[in-house]
């Protein structure tokens, strides 16, 4: 592996996102193709981060800085990868459902999935079912992720899925849900495709759903 790719892996592990733009450009100038940079530079770094996180040697704030480093580089690589017809991990539209202003869990999921190479379109919080429908139509994501912290707002997930069905776009996306009161049973009950108990397993789930 070239020295620069190895350096990129290290920078991802260290969460050195301010320097990622320069090194990504430099790698491209040196003639490396975007796929090589992604698969041999960024991903080995993120994989290492995933292993260390699960082992309890790295913690959320460090993981998020690594994910940010990955994302900064991907912002440059993604259009180039698209040009050459290379498939990236995919696109996720994410949001906290209507009535719920708690969004730290959703933000964590977004950042973790970004770290796994996904493109994230974050709609924010207190999102109406109709706004989710519009976002699915506009962005054509692989996955729609919904989050709720409150038992009261959990039901809005069901309404959102119904709205997607009514708009005829339900089958265009896989639906993932999460949040403290959400359970696998609830996910089954409302017809979601996946449930994850925390942000780390959410990015694993996103990979499974798009595999």
């Amino acid at each position: 592996m070239s020295e620069i790719l190895s350096a990129m892996s290290t920078m991802v592990i260290e969460g050195n996102f301010p320097d990622m733009v320069d090194i990504t450009k430099q790698a491209l100038e040196e003639g490396l193709n975007p796929e090589q940079i992604l698969n041999n530079g960024l991903m080995p770094g993120m994989d290492h981060v995933g292993v260390e996180f699960k082992a309890g040697n790295m913690f959320v704030p460090e993981v998020l800085r690594s994910a940010k480093a990955m994302q900064v580089s991907m912002d440059i690589l993604r259009p180039l990868l698209a040009e050459t017809g290379i498939e990236t991990a995919g696109k996720i539209v994410i949001g906290t459902v209507k009535g719920d202003l708690h969004d730290i869990g959703k933000n964590l999921v977004g950042m973790m999935c970004e770290g796994a190479g996904f493109e994230i379109i974050d709609l924010g919080k207190n999102i109406e079912p109709e706004a989710f429908v519009e976002a699915v139509k506009e962005h054509k994501p692989n996955i729609l992720g919904m989050s709720a912290l409150l038992t009261t707002t959990m039901r809005t997930m069901e309404r959102t899925i119904k709205a997607l069905e009514e708009a005829g776009v339900r089958d265009m996306v896989k639906i993932m849900i999460g949040g403290a009161p959400v359970t696998q049973d609830f996910a089954n009950q409302i017809g979601a495709d996946g449930y994850a108990a925390n942000a780390a397993s959410a990015s694993d789930m996103a990979r499974q759903l798009t595999a």
Partner: protein
Amino acid sequence: MRTNYRANSGVRFRMLSDDQLQELFDGVLHVLEYIGLEVKHEHAREVLKAAGAWVDGDRVRLPSHMVKDALAKAPRSFTVFARDGNPEHDIHIGPGRAHFGPGPTCVYFIDVETMERRPYQLSDVPNVAKVVDSLPNIDFCESLGSVDNVPYDLSALYEFAEMFRHTTKPIVAWSFDYYDSNAIHRIAVEEAGGQDAFEKRPTYIHYCEPLSPLISTTDSLNKLVFAAEHRIPLVFTPCPLAGGTAPVTPAGIIIQAAAESWMGLTIAQNIQPGLPFIMGGVLSVMDMSAMILSYGAPELSLMMAGITELAHFAGLPLWQTGGCTDSKTFDEQAITEGSLSVFFSALSGGDLCHDVGYTESGMTGSVFQLTAMDEAIGYARRITRGIEVNEDTLAVDAIHRVGPNGHYLKDKHTLRYYKSEYWLPNLIDRTSYEDWVLNGENSFKDRTNARVKNILANYEQVPLKPETEKLIDEVLAEAEEWVKQQEA
């Protein structure tokens, strides 16, 4: 006659100095004056603006004189009453008095028969209330769960009705919004004998939760405004996560949480001057591996002690937290975390300590944890009650009587004091090894389980007035209709 005699009869605990508390206090005022909060409630913004707040869209900043004015209006001491007039169940909030009770809204519950974790059901509420009513060291009632098998919007209302029926101890009532808050209040007012009678002897405390960082949400303020207008004592408690939705440092999370709570205080005191107000919130760390709010972390007790001292410095009672755990089961971790936090809470003199009986980081309620913690609270209370020093307790007369080489077992001084000076355990075992074997080699868990079963088998209900029972039926029937209309 003694002059200038100073007595410290209880155990005294103080972490922060006056200078440090003043720094925290000034920090809160700075946040409110220069940063402000998003106040997502038009009426509340109007109330604040009329009282001198700076309002810019949703963002509201408070000049410090407004906050100080609100603090001056709020009482430090007040009483919440037992619904049946039993003075032993009244709660006198004031300096040096720590009270304990469960928490609200867990998703799961440990089944009292099987001890298995499952969703919280309506039939669990009476059991929690009965256990609360019977335990000597549990002072107020919350339900340890959100009822799963009734219409969602009515779960807090059903919960209140069942708690009110099955305990006479004061209730801290959680609710979703205006509708159920109003329905709950109608029930309490009926039992009290009218709004005026309720105001003189309030039997429940209204619970609202703003959102961190720095948002007063619409539903929390709908509830706050309702409580203020009806003069219902109020808890206004955020639940910030250090490192997630609040600064990672204890001092930082304390000032942010206090700012969030005091925005509610300022609104409430401008609507209803002198409204009994209990400052929150629940402060702990976000575990950076498990990504949960830790209910068993030492930082919880530390941060809670800090915010308790700030509340008391500012002249407010505090909504404390303890007796809770991150453990998934009734084990050594649950008892260690629960007991230490209960003791620390008792030491800090936090006024109402809730979440006793929370397990799995607040996801699962357990009357077994609650009952075990009743023992830990009794233990802690004996220590914090301290040592009384007077001529009689010095026992010089008794020492004269017994002298060298005697014993105190049959001395009248021993007889007079041993019951009040000793704490008598309920669950802790001090028998000999032989007796322990003879009694079936029971563990602490076995004895806790037996005590829960015993309480439930021997509980005697103090019924509500017949007219209150009738009103509950009416209120629930109306509410079911209301839900149907909402869905239609």
